[in-house]
């Protein structure tokens, strides 16, 4: 079994490009939310969304190429290029057998809507064959493989908001078991008028209060978000051989689904098992990077309950909630949780959680205040509305 390390991070999100701009925004208490467009039927006068503004799209593709790509493809391929460059692989120099493992909850929906429109309008003869490939959820992954000449094991997971954490775990597994040396992993999501319509139907009441609320019981409003976050994983030997900068090691992964038992207790038990499997004790976890989305939905409340118990038992653990900065971006923000954990193990202090719920407990409030160092371990908690969960333990290089 080989050690797996994170050597590259590529992010494009509402805050801009890269983790530094996100870190600065977090420390300055800024977020990049915009008004929910009036043309997309805002659920509340204060409803917000988090969209990606401009980024240097032509760094990796010509204008002509970009015209054939959808937003999911261009954002994720850009993030892939940034992650590879961050890992020290010059353009086109990543090992050809690099694995590609991505996750998305529903990045394809916007293109499916566009492709299906002629059928909906009763004009099948107007279907555009060039839009057809964009219907496949793995097409962005294929574009990344083509652009960066990667022919390693390749897959895309579409299991909801934790799909990207599952993809990262799967990439780590391939490396750990000697089936890949390097893996490009992560997730992406996309907003559009149609995606916002779907968000309204899927999130329902969780959009109606107008303002997010984290780590409490009272309902808050989700801020739909888009972006892409990709990471480069490597075997420790491979990274050391080429003297790559290492953000963190991935030392343990766990996943499961909520059964008939109490949800918070199941998560808490999973986190305990995770630390045990990495030969650590729970009090050595310096931060939990939580999956809370700002709506205090049932699965978020379960996580809050587990966090509450965890911080009661362990004096050291701080809490970070990336979605309080970038919105509920489903799979892209789940990948961002892992990137945040890696950054903190590499030197960033914890970021304060914005928009805590009015009923957030005092201990949770203190642990979410930010400014803590992360020296020993960071635990990433992935949660999903249908009861699936995924967790990952990261340790310093």
């Amino acid at each position: 079994m080989r050690d797996v390390v994170i050597t590259g991070i590529g992010v494009v999100g509402p805050h801009g490009v890269g983790m530094s701009s996100l870190s600065t925004s977090a420390q300055d208490g800024r977020c990049a939310f915009a008004q929910w467009p009036a043309t997309a039927d805002p659920p509340h006068p204060q409803s917000r969304i988090a969209t990606v503004a401009d980024y240097p799209k032509t760094r990796y593709f010509s204008e002509r190429h970009l015209r054939l790509m959808d937003k999911a493809m261009s954002m994720s391929a850009f993030a892939a290029g940034v992650a590879l460059a961050d890992a020290g692989f010059e353009d086109g120099a990543a090992p050809p057998h690099t694995a590609t493992m991505l996750g998305t909850a529903r990045a394809e929906q916007t293109s499916i809507h566009k492709f299906m429109l002629p059928l909906v309008q009763g004009k099948p003869e107007r279907l555009n064959p060039s839009d057809f490939p964009l219907v496949a959820r793995n097409i962005s992954c294929g574009q990344i493989a083509i652009r960066f000449a990667l022919r390693g094991p390749s897959s895309v997971l579409s299991s909801g908001s934790i799909a990207s954490i599952e993809a990262i775990s799967r990439g780590a597994r391939l490396i750990r078991n000697g089936r890949a040396e390097v893996a490009l992993v992560g997730g992406m999501e996309v907003l559009s008028k149609f995606a916002l319509y779907m968000s309204r139907k899927l999130y329902g009441d969780d959009l109606l209060t107008g303002k997010p609320a984290f780590l409490g019981e009272q309902g808050g409003a989700l801020v739909p978000s888009e972006g892409a976050c990709l990471l480069v994983l490597e075997s420790a030997e491979h990274a050391e051989r080429r003297q790559a900068r290492i953000y963190a090691r991935i030392t343990a992964c766990a996943a499961g689904r909520q059964g008939r038992g109490e949800a918070g207790a199941t998560l808490h038990a999973c986190w305990n098992d995770l630390t045990r499997s990495a030969s650590m004790t729970p009090d050595q976890v310096d931060v939990i990077v939580a999956g809370s989305g700002g709506g205090n939905r049932a699965h978020e409340r379960a996580e809050t309950s587990a966090l509450d118990r965890w911080v009661g038992e362990n004096d050291a653990a701080a809490i970070v909630v990336p979605r309080s900065l970038v919105g509920e971006g489903e799979a892209w923000t789940s990948a961002l949780q892992v990137a945040c954990a890696a950054r903190m193990l590499a030197g960033d202090t914890t970021w304060p959680v914005r928009d805590l719920a009015s009923d957030t407990g005092e201990t949770l409030r203190q642990r979410a205040a930010g400014g803590n160092s992360v020296k020993r371990a960071a635990l990433v908690s992935g949660i999903q509305s249908q009861g699936a969960y995924s967790a990952m333990l990261l340790q310093p290089a």
């Binding site: 079994m1 694995a99 590609t100 909850a105 529903r106 499916i112 809507h113 492709f115 299906m116 429109l117 059928l119 909906v120 309008q121 099948p124 003869e125 279907l127 064959p129 057809f132 490939p133 219907v135 496949a136 959820r137 793995n138 097409i139 992954c141 294929g142 574009q143 493989a145 083509i146 990667l150 022919r151 390693g152 094991p153 390749s154 897959s155 895309v156 997971l157 579409s158 299991s159 909801g160 799909a163 599952e166 799967r170 597994r173 078991n177 000697g178 089936r179 149609f194 319509y197 139907k201 899927l202 996943a255 499961g256 689904r257 059964g259 008939r260 038992g261 249908q386 009861g387 699936a388």
Partner: protein, 412 residues
């Protein structure tokens, strides 16, 4: 931890109907399930051929309600297939929390019928009639895990037409590495008008009969259905005296990195998935007796697949028997891999290869022995089932007769 993993339960819903035995006898018959499409009016399209699940399965009285899958057809098919797989394995149908049975599924088109209705509602500012969640790829995963209380690791693979072969490999990983002791795998898919229209636009849908590896080929028809497996450790199966259909010994994935929709010219990217499956299984190319091919019956796929086989197996390619199920059940998109892997497991279990319907196998580059006409009885110890999809996705699973397999793991 590397444990041996076996298939002890299988389920299928296919264009032949409900059940693995129905699928198997249909494949052995050499008769294609291709029919005129009835779910939508195919008149606007160049070809109207498809392979829908028979009407009587769609309309089974009270079955959708019993299975709790009223809102989405692929989840309905999959619910039937999973139930059959669990019954065959003699486990479930519900599990305790601490059983931690995993679930890894795959799909391409699940939810697309519903999504079309939702697009219509969006365009016309109407309330959708169906729950929006039933248009998501993950809907069937949530449904199956909830219905059977599967509390182990779960995921949904969506790598176009290679989805469920990939999913079975992922499930195999979870069991052999000890993440769970047993796992449900498979997936459900539907014949969507949008996909039929698009493949028509690419002139990939046959206007005559599907003929994989035949110079007269003119494409495939789209099928639908579901395939399901219950897999567990060999130790677990032996200890409870379960019947074992096949052992999963390895799998391989690759990306051709060549083109978003076309398979590669030289088959090199596809060959990587085959080579990785062999390496993972600790097998040499000359161990392989049989390949259940992707075999779409399009010029590009057949060409690159033959070249991949010739590249990987060299002279031994001449000794390998191959078949394509797609001439019989159509190209079932995301679940093609699951149905073809089920067929491959049956081949290992019965030592019988179903024929490739309609084909003469006269493709000039083909050196392997395409089974045509009648089923062929052969001693088969090791077999591959392979799938290729859009986005350059390639997946290959290696199966064995568990009583004739001597494990030589390639990796710790």
């Amino acid at each position: 931890m590397n444990r041996r993993v076996v298939i002890t339960g299988m389920g299928a819903v296919s264009p032949y109907g409900r059940g693995v035995e129905t699928l198997w006898s249909g494949l052995l018959s050499g008769e294609s399930a291709m029919q005129k499409i009835r779910h939508f009016d195919p008149a606007p399209y160049r070809s109207g051929w498809g392979g829908e699940v028979p009407r009587e399965v769609y309309d089974l009285p009270n079955e959708r309600e019993r299975l709790g899958a009223a809102d989405e057809d692929s989840a309905y098919f999959l619910s039937m297939a999973v139930e059959e797989a669990l019954t065959m394995a003699g486990v479930g149908p519900g599990f305790d929390d601490n059983a931690r049975v995993g679930c890894v599924l795959g799909t391409l088109c699940a939810g697309l019928r519903n999504l079309r209705d939702i697009c219509h509602s969006f365009e016309n500012r109407l309330e959708p009639e169906l729950p929006v969640g039933a248009s998501l790829a993950s809907y069937q995963l949530d449904h199956i895990t909830r219905r059977h209380n599967l509390t182990g690791p779960s995921s949904m693979v969506s790598t176009a037409c290679s989805s469920t072969t990939d999913a079975l490999g992922y499930a195999f990983d979870l069991v052999r590495h000890g993440d769970c002791d047993a796992c449900v795998s498979g997936g459900g898919d539907v014949l969507s008008e949008a996909i039929h229209a698009a493949f028509n636009g690419l002139q990939s849908i046959t206007t005559s009969r599907p003929r994989p590896f035949d110079q007269a080929r003119d494409g495939f028809f789209i099928g639908e259905g579901a395939g399901a497996f219950f897999i567990e450790t060999l130790d677990s199966a032996m200890s409870r005296g379960a019947r074992i259909y096949a052992e999963i010994v390895g799998y391989g994935l690759s990306n051709t990195g060549y083109h978003l929709t076309a398979t590669s010219e030289d088959g090199a990217g596809e060959a990587l998935a085959l080579l990785r499956a062999l390496e993972d299984a600790g097998l040499r190319p000359d161990h392989i007796d049989f390949i259940n091919c992707h075999g779409t019956g399009t010029r590009y796929n057949d060409g690159s697949e033959i070249r991949a086989i010739n590249h990987v197996f060299g002279e031994h390619a001449r000794n390998i028997h191959i078949t394509s199920n797609k001439a019989s059940i159509g190209h079932c998109m995301g679940v093609a891999g699951a149905l073809e892997a089920a067929s491959t497991a049956m081949t290992l279990d019965r030592q019988l290869i179903p024929p490739t319907a309609h084909s003469t196998g006269d493709e000039t580059e083909l050196v392997s022995q395409l089974v045509t006409g009648e089923p062929l009885t052969r001693p088969i110890r090791y077999a591959l089932s392979q799938s290729f999809g859009f986005g350059g996705a390639c997946s290959c699973i290696a199966l064995a007769r568990h009583d004739q397999h001597t494990p030589e793991p390639a990796h710790a």
